[in-house]
Symmetry: C2
Subunit: 278 residues, 2 copies
DNA sequence: AACGATTTGTTCGTATGTATC
DNA sequence: TGATACATACGAACAAATCGT
């Protein structure tokens, strides 16, 4: 009838964390101490702690203890400017809340594939048409920040944009290069934002805990030329526990590029008060 | 030195799921069968399954078994039109991929607070100034879809917009009402997208599994009047396992409002091929 | 409606390994 | 090196949910 013991213990600890009794960075009592405090077995205590880990509230460090994790100060990416995404542009780092940072970008890994299924659909190519992909790691300072892959129709290369297949970053941007080489302009695009579990490569690159509770944002940008023909598909992933995205519509007054509220939830959230049980 | 047993088992099962050998909805072998197959104890099998649950790959049903979960067909919300968000407008449901659906909205729960901290900052009010909050549950069909709270400066009510404090939904939209009552226009806004663990009320409303591995999107919209003064702050949360957001920049060609790729990842993802271990 | 079989959920005990200080 | 703390693995017993008879 009542909650199982490990859940009650987890809820009790969660209350202590959210009330501030256990501040961020604080070490929890050890498993053996908690076992005595709650009069449970060590395994039951461990079940409770696992629940708090999955909820993102605590982390364990072998040989040290269990600690309250604070919300990470997020990287903030502006989505409404072309330069803010895709070529590595408008990003705000925690240490520079009001001034954009420039990410460091690895040289791309180039691959050539035959488009199939979704990829062919999105680029509006025949099934089996050749595409070129450019895959890059992106860092802010020394910290891994995002993984990005962009696919282009191969016919751009045939038409003269041969640098597309060179494994060298283009600091000025691929879009500008395509404009100069072929007169192609990226006029409009669609961004699609979703969240999913990381694959093993993403988990390793971002250094995510291997229990898999941290999710990644996946942002797909399909960009089109003036003519309406698809130009490229860009898929970028970011760890969801330290990234946020901002989109401005219209000329938004200057309250600082860094949203004032980031890092601190509103005093009252969508579900913070009561009710909602109906 | 090698991976622990429960992790190897989990990885083996994950491979079978992602290769399609175990399709969505398929029942896995029972814990006792897996115990014999992998020559492990039942508890070790259960540890492996817990990992797959946290990764969102399987779910367990007491008395029945363990099953592969398919990716849910997402609700798709368009963020670039005002009607698409805030008043309940442009949303595409899985059963209607090309035609917008109209969400059903509960009557609001009205509360009056004193703005403090973040809320006062974002609405640019004095600390302690009165604000009114309108909290609503939003459904698509019978399914819970999102929770939304909007805060307005109380002076709008003093100036004549008395319907703001009536616990009645405004199907035509609060923005239009404020325009008619006070001549106020919502001209521009900023959306901020983040992901976090659900609070208990959200978990219950959305029916999320109580182990807490499903995250919620939190979208904060700060809207401004023509004058540049803040109009309102809206915070909306959506379960992240069945919602996606789309933003169009420029006049995007018609490839269907439902992005062709949703539900199916690209054949090649940002981390799908190799390398990235550097 | 009742019962038994099956399957996952909870809780305990115990032993040993590994990381950190 | 020893002590401490978390990680892995096994065994066991009972509870609770589901399903078919």
């Amino acid at each position: 009838m009542p909650d199982p013991m490990y859940r009650s213990i987890a809820d009790d600890l969660r209350d202590k964390i959210e009330s501030g009794e256990l501040g961020r960075g604080t070490q929890l009592p050890t498993e053996l101490e908690l076992r005595d405090q709650y009069n449970a077995s060590r395994n039951t205590i461990r079940d409770a702690v696992k629940l708090l880990i999955t909820r993102g509230l605590v982390e364990t460090r072998p040989g040290q203890g269990t600690f309250v994790v604070g919300k990470l100060d997020p990287y903030i990416t502006i989505l409404d400017l072309d330069t803010g995404f895709g070529e590595g542009g408008l990003v705000y780092a925690p240490d520079r809340p009001t001034e954009p940072t420039t990410p460091r970008v690895s040289d791309p890994r180039i691959e050539i594939h035959q488009a199939a299924g979704t990829l062919a659909d999105e680029l509006q190519l025949e099934d089996g048409a050749a595409v070129i992909s450019r895959h890059q790691q992106r860092f802010i300072g020394d910290a891994p920040w995002s993984l990005q892959t962009t696919w282009y129709p191969m016919h751009f290369v045939d038409e003269g944009a041969v640098s597309l297949i060179k494994a060298k970053d283009m600091p000025q941007g691929v879009v500008r290069y395509l404009g100069e080489a072929l007169g192609i302009k990226q006029a409009r695009w669609r961004d699609q934002i979703s969240v999913r579990a990381p694959d093993p490569i993403e988990a390793r690159f971002f250094g995510l805990p291997d229990d898999g509770h941290v999710r990644v944002f996946e942002i797909r940008r399909i960009a089109f030329q003036d003519s309406g023909a698809p130009l490229r598909l860009t898929v970028t992933t970011y760890p969801a526990d330290r990234n946020e995205f901002v989109m401005n519509v219209g000329d938004v007054p200057d309250t600082g590029a860094h949203p004032p509220g980031s890092g601190q939830p509103a005093p009252d959230g969508p579900g913070a008060t009561a009710a909602d049980q109906g």
